[in-house]
């Protein structure tokens, strides 16, 4: 058991930067997700914690001890690989027992702990199977069991759900989170799936091109994104380029005037971020009506409906709960004029230049 501290960790390959700099403090029992598109450096960061990649700068501390120079086998991390990486020539029981064997745990205790952890991941009765005789979901649980059984100081998950089908993924997500909380494991999970990160982690680290863009809880990232990248990556978001003309008045480059939060922000070039669910619609009396938007397309999604709109040349997406069948909104069709409205405070102004904020 222990905390995990990344202190200015970076990795370069020659002149190519894989990870610019990551500062991160994962508290005992906390689950933190590294989230970002492929190539953002999240997997390299995880591999630096496991010891498979040597950082070119910074330090890795596990439970307060500097392990930057320690080889992987001396680090007390338990990792679940994306490919599971089970030992194909060993039975399920042998796979799970391997880490205990390496830790010189006696046979009787070993057998008992293997039994317990297999019950925990619901694999009782499959002890003598070989990995190739198991389904993908079962293999995944063996990989979990193998990493959990040694009670690692840091639990590492590398895209653990990406090889499962959608239905199983939701289930396993809940299971992993429940296990992690029950066992109080300090956990770092790498994922490119924002839903996975939002539902599983206590805090998220959004990365892009080797840099940390923002660290925070799901709510913080969603409601107060630090920059357009985070706003666009976590959840869906309308990002409109333009400039702040006067407090509360944002002029898009297309000419549309959009109300926004009347804060003390300096005037000038900005990006306006507006979540699609914050845009309310009402049928407009006539197409010529001033300030009305035009409906381009409607996508019915059951509980929700997506409205693809255009306001003076600026494309906007609105997502609303599907209105009741007798609502006039249900009779809208592409080409119709609609009036849009939103709380000014919902439209956030972000710096047009990508920032390097490391909020926490």
């Amino acid at each position: 058991m222990g905390s995990l501290l990344l202190d200015g960790v970076g990795k370069r390959y020659g002149t190519a930067v894989a990870v610019e700099r990551v500062d991160l403090d994962v508290r005992q029992g906390e689950m933190v997700a590294l989230l970002g598109p492929s190539g953002c450096g999240k997997t390299t960061t995880l591999r630096m914690v496991a010891g498979f990649v040597a950082p070119t700068t910074g330090r890795v501390l596990i439970g307060g001890a500097d392990v930057t120079q320690a080889p992987p086998h001396a680090r007390d991390t338990g990792m679940v690989f994306q490919s599971y990486a089970l030992f194909p020539h060993m039975t399920v029981a042998a796979n799970v027992a391997f880490g205990l064997e390496m830790r010189k745990v006696g046979r009787a205790e070993r057998e008992q702990r293997v039994r317990e952890v297999l019950r925990l991941v619901r694999l009782e009765g499959l002890e003598e199977r070989l990995p190739r005789q198991l389904s993908g979901g079962q293999q995944q649980r063996v990989a979990l069991a193998r990493a959990l059984v040694v009670n690692p100081a840091v639990f590492l998950l590398d895209e653990p759900l990406s090889n499962l089908d959608a239905k199983l993924r939701g289930e396993v997500r809940m299971e992993i989170r429940a296990l992690q909380q029950r066992l109080g494991l300090t956990t770092l999970i790498v994922t490119h799936d924002q839903e996975e990160a939002l539902t599983m982690a206590d805090r998220l680290v959004v990365m892009d091109r080797g840099r940390v863009r923002q660290v925070g809880t799901a709510e913080e990232l969603y409601e107060r994104p630090a920059d357009p990248f985070v706003a666009g990556f976590v959840g869906r978001c309308n990002l409109v380029e333009g400039a702040l003309e006067a407090p509360g008045a944002f002029r898009a480059t297309t000419g549309a005037l959009l109300p926004c939060a009347p804060g003390s922000a300096a005037l000038g070039r900005r990006i306006l971020a507006l979540r699609p669910e914050h845009i309310a619609l009402a049928p407009a009396p006539s197409p010529a009506s001033n300030g009305a938007a035009r409906l381009k397309a409607v996508t019915y999604l059951g509980a929700l409906t997506e409205y693809h709109l255009e306001l003076d040349g600026t494309p906007l997406l609105a997502i609303r709960p599907t209105p009741p069948a007798d609502d006039p909104l249900r009779r809208l069709s592409p080409g119709d004029a609609v009036r849009l409205s939103w709380e000014a405070s919902a439209a956030r102004l972000l710096s047009a230049e990508p920032t390097d904020q490391q909020g926490a």
């Binding site: 992987p72 086998h73 990792m79 690989f81 990486a85 089970l86 030992f87």
Partner: protein, 282 residues
């Protein structure tokens, strides 16, 4: 589909099975110094080969050299094969060519080169004698060590490439998982890499062992006139002694022993691997 196998099948039948049958028939004939060969059905040639201490020692030498060379090739070849298999860079194809390169040089040419280097009048001895470090030439060739070294140099590429092909199939992440679970590098090798590479170890060893058992040029050129292995002995009987029946019997003994050891060796390797696995994991 089966028809596709036919051309190769006919070729093998004509060029391998037919001569073998013929050879076996000859091995049962009697030798006659005047008529060369007398039609007969006798085991006399086999009994002579087994009973004669000289031929027994030739057979033992052959077995010892082949076994030793195979083990040496395996020991030297595994690290090289691992390194080659795990190579990521653009130099990998170049490295493969370098490994293959010795195969471009024929056995005879290579052994002749070694003679020029290691012989009594060769480069090394001439130099050492010239600067007065030694008074008499060092016995660098015409001994078992020279033959084994020569054979290993010939067969190493086969071993390395066979092993590398299998090691490449072992996912890197499986090794990482083992070290993540606390296994030190040698333990990762012993518990994960070696067991998973065992099919390659078996295939490479069988291939190399068969090549070693049938060594001819290297044994003759680096072993010298008094060093005898089976293949040169067979040649001697056919060409110098004109004793085809006895030569055929020697050839068949060589063939049978190679075959039996190969089959049982690889079967035993598989069994032992499974048993050890079971022991360590229960």
């Amino acid at each position: 589909m089966a028809a596709l196998v036919l051309p190769a099948g006919i070729l093998v039948a004509l060029l391998l099975v037919a001569p073998m049958v013929l050879l076996f028939r000859i091995s049962l004939n009697e030798f006659s110094p005047t008529q060369m060969m007398v039609e007969a059905t006798t085991a006399a040639n086999y009994l002579r080969a087994v009973g004669d201490p000289y031929y027994r020692s030739v057979l033992l030498t052959t077995l010892a050299v082949a076994l030793g060379s195979t083990l040496l090739a395996l020991t030297l070849g595994f690290p090289a094969a691992y390194w080659l298999a795990r190579m990521q860079s653009r130099w990998k194809s170049l490295a493969t060519i370098v490994v293959l390169f010795p195969l471009l040089v024929g056995n005879v040419v290579r052994a002749a080169g070694w003679l020029a280097l290691l012989g009594n009048g060769g480069a090394i001895n001439a130099t050492l004698l010239g600067i007065g470090v030694i008074a008499a030439p060092l016995p660098l060739i015409y001994n078992t060590g020279a033959v084994v070294a020569g054979i290993v140099a010939v067969v190493l590429p086969y071993m390395v490439l066979t092993l590398a092909a299998v090691i490449e199939g072992i996912p890197r992440q499986v090794e990482e998982a083992a070290s993540n679970m606390g296994a030190k590098p040698f333990t990762v090798f012993r518990r994960v890499v070696l067991p998973l590479a065992l099919p390659g170890v078996a295939a490479g060893s069988v291939l190399v062992f068969v090549l070693c058992m049938n060594t001819y040029a290297t044994a003759v050129l680096l072993g010298g006139p008094r060093f005898k292995m089976m293949a040169p002995a067979v040649y001697d009987q056919f060409v110098r002694g004109n004793n085809w029946p006895f030569g055929a019997a020697l050839a068949f003994i060589l063939l049978t022993i190679t075959l039996v050891l190969t089959v049982f060796g690889s079967a035993a390797l598989g069994r032992r691997y499974r048993r050890r696995l079971a022991e360590e994991t229960t």
